[in-house]
Symmetry: C5
C-alpha cells in the first residue's frame, strides 16, 4: 500500500574534510576535488536536484552540503557509494545527514504531494525541526489557525521560499525545514517575527541551523583548501 504517488525523497548530506587532507600535495588535492565533482556531475541527471552549498568560514562542523532530491530512494545509496570511491572520501567526515520525503500538506488546500523545485536562490537555510508532542493533541482547527498565521507572515516575505518536507519515522527529526533566500539577514528578520507566533511556542527543537551558499561543485570544493579562493573573490 504505497500512498506516495510521484513523491520525492529530499536529503541533505553534510561533509567536513579532515584537516590532514590540507597537508597533501596540491595536485593530489586537485585530483580529489576533480573526482568528487565528476561523480556529482555524472549522477546529477538521475536526480531532480543535486545542488552544492558551501558553509566554509561559517559553520564549525561542516564545509559543504548536498541538497539531493530524487523520486527513487536507491539513488541516495548509490550516490553515497560512488562518492565513497573518490580519493577525497579517504579524508571526508559526514557530520550530519538528513532524510525527508514529500506529502500533501495538511495546512494548505493542496491535494497532492508538493513537488520540491528549488529557485536557485544564492542562499539556503536548512534545519531539522521537532514539535512538542502536545501540538499533535491540539484540535485540527487550532493547528490550522496557528499555521495560517505562520503562512501569512511568510507570505509577507516573497523573496524567501519555503521547501518543508516530512521525516516522521525515517529520520530523527519530524520535518526538514528549508528556505531559499537572497540574503541571510533577511531570513533572520522573518524568523524573529515568527518567534512571537503561537505555533512557535510548540517548538521542541529547531537546531542545528545551516546557512549554505549555492556554488558550483568545484567552487565549493575549492574553499576546502583556498586554492582558488583569490580568483573567485
Amino acid at each position: 500500500m504505497s500512498v506516495v504517488v510521484s513523491g520525492q525523497y529530499v536529503a541533505y548530506s553534510f561533509y567536513r574534510v579532515r584537516p590532514e587532507w590540507r597537508q597533501l600535495p596540491v595536485d593530489e588535492r586537485e585530483a580529489g576535488k576533480d573526482a568528487f565533482a565528476d561523480v556529482l556531475e555524472e549522477n546529477a541527471p538521475r536526480f531532480d536536484t543535486l545542488n552544492v552549498y558551501s558553509t566554509t568560514g561559517v559553520r564549525p562542523d561542516s564545509d559543504f552540503f548536498l541538497w539531493k532530491i530524487t523520486q527513487r530512494y536507491a539513488d541516495l545509496g548509490e550516490l553515497g557509494a560512488a562518492l565513497n570511491g573518490t580519493p577525497l572520501a579517504g579524508y571526508l567526515e559526514t557530520p550530519f545527514s538528513y532524510l525527508a520525503t514529500t506529502r500533501a500538506s495538511q495546512y494548505t488546500s493542496a491535494r497532492r504531494a508538493r513537488r520540491i523545485t528549488p529557485f536557485g536562490s544564492p542562499y539556503l537555510v536548512v534545519y531539522p525541526f521537532v514539535k512538542v508532542r502536545p501540538w499533535y493533541a491540539l484540535p485540527e482547527a487550532d493547528r490550522q489557525r496557528a499555521m495560517d498565521e505562520h503562512i501569512r507572515i511568510g507570505g509577507e516575505h516573497p523573496s524567501i521560499h519555503n521547501h518543508t518536507t516530512y521525516s516522521f519515522g525515517i529520520d530523527d527529526q519530524e520535518f526538514m525545514t528549508a528556505f531559499e533566500c537572497d540574503e541571510p539577514a533577511d531570513f533572520m528578520h522573518l524568523m524573529l517575527t515568527l518567534r512571537e507566533t503561537e505555533a512557535s511556542s510548540y517548538t521542541e527543537r529547531d537546531t542545528p541551523i545551516f546557512v549554505g551558499q549555492l556554488l558550483p561543485a568545484r567552487a565549493a570544493l575549492d574553499r576546502l583548501d583556498g586554492v582558488a579562493a583569490g580568483v573567485e573573490a
Copy 2:
C-alpha cells in the same frame, strides 16, 4: 528461575569504516571485505537471522548494520570476536549497538514469547524507544486501550511488519522497535498518523531512527568504497 522459554536475543550492531581505510590499495580493501563477509557466512547457521542492511549515503554516522537474532547470548560475543579478527576491523568503528530480547506481549492475546522471523522486506526501519515514566503508572486498561489504537492503525498498513523487542535493564532503551517495509515513504505516512495517537504522547525518546536497505553482505560492504557501485546500480 529463567522465565524465557525458547526466547531470542535480538541485536542490532552498527558499523562505520574510518575514512582512511579508503586510502588503502584496492586489493587490501577487497581482502578486508572478503574476510568480513566470510565470517558472517560461517556464523549465519548458528543464528536464526543474520542480515546486513546498508545505510550508505543516508545516515551520517554509520555505513551498515547487522540484524542478529539468536537463542544463545554467547553467540553475540563470539561473532563480535570473530569479526574483530578480520583486517577490516582495524578500520571499523561501532557507533551504535542495541540489545533486546523477546517476551510475550502484554497487549495481545499471545501467551508465548513471539518468535521474531523477518519477512525479508527490502527496507528495515529500526530505533530505540523509551516511554515517559508516567506511562507505567497508568491503569492497565488505559494502556491496553492506547495500544489497541496503535495496533489498529498498524493493521491498516499490511505491507509494514512490526518486530518490537524488549530491552529493559539490558540496554539503554526500553524497546527496540523494528519495522520491515517495501518503501521508506510508506513508513513515514504510518508514523505521521501514529503521532496523533494517545500512546504517542507518552514517548520520551524514539531516536536515532535508522533506515537500512537489505543487501547481500558483500554488496553492502562494496558500498564502503564504491568499487562495485556502478555494477549493482
Copy 3:
C-alpha cells in the same frame, strides 16, 4: 572524622581498544595482552575482587570492563598506573569509569556497611543511577515503603544478586547498581516488573546499562582481536 569502618571502594573501569591496534602483527598483540593480564594477576591479591567482564559484540563503546573492589583508595590509582605501563595501553581508550563506596543501607536493618562479595555469576549488569531530587524530599516512611516493594520483587528472583553501592559526591551518579545473574533475559524480566513500581517513577537516569560476561582476563582480551575466539566457542 571517618565514618566508614572497614568500608570498600567499588569501581568499574571500561576499556575500548582503538581499531588500529588490530593492524599490529599478531605477536605484538599477544605480548600486549600478556602484559595486561599479568598486571591484573599481580595486583589481584591487593583487591577484594578484581574481575574482568567482556562486552565484545554487544556494547558499541567498550570491549571489556574491570570490577575492582578494595578497602584502600590508593589501589585504584596504582593499578591504573601499572596498566598504563603495558604496551596495550598505547591503544586503549577508557570511555567510562565509575567510582562508589559501601555504607550501611537506610532501607534494611543492617547497621554496618555491607561487604560486597561477588557470587561469580556468569553475567553482571551494571549501570549508574540518579534519582530525581523530589525523592529526597519525601518523608522517610514513604521512601521506606517504596523501597520495600522493590526489595520484595527482587526477592522473587533469587538467582539475581544485587550489589548496589554509593557514589554521592565522589562521581557523577548517586548509586552504582550492579546485578549478577545467570542469563541476561532473566534480568530484563525483573526490570520490566520493577518499571511499574512507585520507586521507579523517581528515576532521573539509569543509563548506560552494561551487560558483561565474566571471563578469565586472557579470554576477555582475546576477544579484542578474535585470535582465540574459535577455540573458546
Copy 4:
C-alpha cells in the same frame, strides 16, 4: 525585500590546534603562524573589525577566536577559504563558530541597526544566548520593563560594553551576547547581579561562555606552542 540597511554580519570563529602540530620542527610552526597571520592582515581592510582573542590556558576546547564584523556575507566564506589555504589549517579544528547580524533593538529608542564598533578593551566575554519560548508570549510592555532593569544595571558598570547581535534563524542561538571589559572579575560581578533580575529567569541557555584576551594575531598564535611566551610575559 531586504530590511537590513547597512547592517553588519558579526561572527565569532573558534580554533583549536591539534596537539600533533606541536611535534613539528619549530621553523615549520613559525611558517604556519606567519602565513595565518598574513592572511588575517591581508583581509582586515575588507572587514569593519577582525580581532584575535586568545583563550590559551583557560578554555579546554579552543586556543583562540576571531571576532569578524563585515557588511558583506561573502567575506566570511572567502576569509575561511583563505585561512584553509595556510599550512596551519592542516592541524586546526574549529570547535565553535557563531553567526549573527545587527538590527534596531526593540528595547531602546534606536531606529536603525546599531553599528557594532569594538572599544578595543583587553577582554571580550562572548556567549550564545537562547530565551525560553514563553518570553516571546509576554506582552511587549512586560518585556520592555524586564529589559529596562537589565539595561539600568548594565549602565552602572560603565567599563563594560555590550555588543549584542541577532542570530534568529541563521544559527543555533537566538542572540550572540558580547561584552568588552577591562578585567574578567568585573564581569562576574555584573552577571551575579543580573542573575536576580526578572529577565534572567527566562534564560534557556547561555553557554558556552568564552573569555578572550585581545592580542595581536601573531602573539595569540605564539601561545599555541609557547615559543614567544617567555618574551611577552
Copy 5:
C-alpha cells in the same frame, strides 16, 4: 570600576595524555615529563597555589589536573602557553578547564573576598555547580535559611574544607565547588546528608565530579605511563 580588591582567579585545568604517547621510547617520555614538571616549578612562585592532582585509574576522561590560584588573570594564559611549549603538549588533550574568581560570600558575615588557601589535604573533590533559576527569585531570607542548614551540616565534618568560588559570566557554571578531604568516602557521607536539604533541591547541575589525589608534579606524571608506579606504591 573594579569591585574586586585583592581577589583571586581560581582555575582547574584537566589533562589527558593520548594513548599513543605511551608508545614512545621511555627516554622521550621521561624528557616530556621532566619539561612539564619544570615549567610548573618555574611558574609556581607567581601563583598563590599551583597544585597537581592525579585522577589516574579513577576518571575515564582525565589523568591529572592543576589547581591554579593567582591574583593576575594573565598568569593563566602565560602558564598555558609555557606548558604548550613542552614535548608532552604534543600528546596532551585538555578535556575540561574551569575558571572562577573569589568574592565576599552573601551568606556569611565576611565582608571581603575570602582568600582561598588550600590546606594540602590528600584529596580534592571539585565540580562545577549550577542552581535552577527559581533559586535566584527566592527572598534573600529564604536563601539565607537554606544556606545556613548547608553550612551547619558542613561544620559537623571538620576534616572537610570547602573552597567555593564564583564563575557567573566567566565560565559555563555558576560556581566551582571544591572540597579538600582526608578520604573520599568521608565526602560521600557528607554529600549523602546534604542531598536531603532544602538547598539541594535547587540544584540544576553538579557534574562532572572529580576526585583528585594530591601528588608532587613528577609523581602525578609518572602515573601516565606507570614507570615509577612500583616505586611509589
